[in-house]
Amino acid sequence: MAKTAQEKLDAKREKEYNKTHKHMYKLKPGDIVFDILNYLFFGLFTLSCIFPFYYLFINTISDNKLVQRGMINFYPRGIHFQNYLSLTNVNDLGNAFIVSITRTIFGTVLMVLATAFVGYVVTKQEMWHRSFWYRFIVITMYFNAGLIATYLNMVMLGLTNNYMVYIIPGIVAPYNIILVKTYIESIPGELEESAFIDGASYFTVFRKLIWPLSKPILATVAIFGAVGHWNSFQDSLLYMTNAPSLMTLQHRLYIYLNQSSNIASMMNTSGAGAAAQFENLLNVKVIKYTISMISVIPILLVYPFMQRFFEKGIMLGAVKG
């Protein structure tokens, strides 16, 4: 596979670079000071990227009374997972979770299918006015009519307070189309030609040849798309003004974060006893932290495995078509 070969090459280059650098100069005092400062800086900066998540996490699993008194700073105490279970009692959160998950799945699948297909079609030189239509798509990346005009357009199309506003406008993603098109162009043309000689149609070639061969880039595009859908906040904010049940998780989180200390308003308490129990168990700080945690956990779980796809994405973007 070309992919692994490229990666091997990169690793080898990196090693060589380090080796040559190690032997190329003698360590001077200035170098040692620089190295220490360098490691220190990157260590601290990395810590600043990890610590907030860790801090949120330990606060959600520690004894809530200690959390309320601000006693949990570096390590958890009185570990329990009750907070996560109690989230089922938070108003509308379940809905928001379902909306976010389904839009991520459907939105990403449709976007990837469309991106692959359009990316393939625009590589075909014989298409009627190909370059015009390709530009027609690409220009939308640089130009938009503005927030209000887009909003008015959605109103006109009846897409406000409608779940479909999460899915349909995102299907055609110009940046991803450029990535896929560039990738498909790098696939040797002979493969396709021989398929056409055997009488295959464009659809067959796409399904049997292009789709499997462009899987690496499609994975990259899919992950970018999924992260975008999961994090999406603006469309929910703009278009769901009268449909609270269709708000995304990020929008819900935003609302909860800005809510003052009235916890009762957030809970769908089913009786005085239950209310008292939750008052005991949860406090505003903890519930905010817990909801933040469940919004960030999917990203943190997926990220380490997908990192190379992310990096490939930005590299391909730099090459641009």
Partner: protein, 487 residues
Amino acid sequence: MKEERTQTRGVAEYVYYLQRILIAASVLALFFPSMNPARICKLVSDNISLFTSAVSYPSLISGVGRGFRSGWIEESTFVVLYISAVIAVIGTALVAAGACCSLGNVKLKRLGLKFSLIGSIVQIGGYILTIVAYNMAANGGRPEKIEAHFPTAALVLAIMAAVILLTSLLLMAVLPKADASMEYEMESKYKLFLMFLPFGALAGIFCYLPLWGWRYAFFDYQTGGTLNMDNFVGFKWFIYLFQNSTTRSDILRVMANTLGISGLNIITQWIPMVFAIFLCEMKNLRFRRFVQTFTTVPNFISWVLVYAIALAIFSTDGFINTFAKSIHLLDANSEGTNYLMGNSLVWVKMWAWGVWKGVGWSAIIYIAGISGIDQQLYEAATVDGAGRFQKMWHVTLPGLLPTFFVLLLMAIAGILSNGLDQYLVFHNAENDKSIEVLDLYVYYLGLGSNGSIPLSTVVGMFKSVISVVLLFGANAVSKALRGESII
């Protein structure tokens, strides 16, 4: 004989052009509320298109609740109206399919004509039903209450459909018969175009159609109102924006914020590059990998989550305050400081959050650039007696400058687009004056509690146009200096 055939083909081509234009127009009309025949009375929203009326019955009757309750109009009228909209949309879909088939060979063309014929009849049926619904509304209940008006659009569209019908019949007569042995075929250039068409249409609807919304800038529009010649105000809002002292001072303040924050980002555009160079100076590969992995994470969380983190660390009961209390830097009973409030250093704070979130990610491209630099350059530099810092300065840095230059130009082109999310989530009552960037201003101006849609559309128009000019300017600079375009 041959000449005669080419002549008929010529005529047929012209008729086809006419028909395709009509079909394209009737498809387009589906998405314009002003061409919606279903608007038979005031109760139907002015902002609803025929397509929406047909797809969603709840949208169609969204404003009618009172009319039903007071008996001004029968619900059956709206059922008929809805059915008519569905029929009209189906008919339009059929004629559109016919137009697509007309790009094929004779056999496919003939099939397409059948589609257009049936489709246009269905369309006409749908529009007649719309007029029936209008009559039901005008004759039953209280027509004066609901202000029933004759749907002129239905008549116009029905005439268009009739012309499509006639042209289809004409073409059926003119076109030669297809051989029985003929297959359905189409030239591959059209085939590819038709495969592309649905996606092109989506791009058209969601990226180009909003430009039609710019017309709101020329009307005295109130939310829920209509656009018509009575409230056409020309360039009133454009002039108002600069003559009214409140909006003028707002614009000046907002532009200062926008340019201030963007300016900070542009002058610190080199940070990811230096980050990458220093990162690559560390010899411990495992540590480097670790740093790289974790510094890119913040890029993939939303701004809402960044705000959640900011609250957890910097608010009154956040980490900084509780930690200060635990080591007795701060009195245990004191209120603590909420570092997110306050109007000081807002630009710098916003810039710092942006750097924290983005630097690791932006550095990746430079890291890749460094591994692509020819090793022989470093060897040559060593031979010439260059030290570590000299190599960074004279070899690594020049190798990365082209990438830096492109990203810098892109940043300058995007100087007005700070994005909405970050400033919206960090916005509060105290930092209001310094955080309101153009995107946030447009949002509040248009969709805030006492917003003005026309005025914010004007601001949005200015922003879009200036951004495009800047982008092309940046592109021209890039072409002149490097001979390469960036878009």
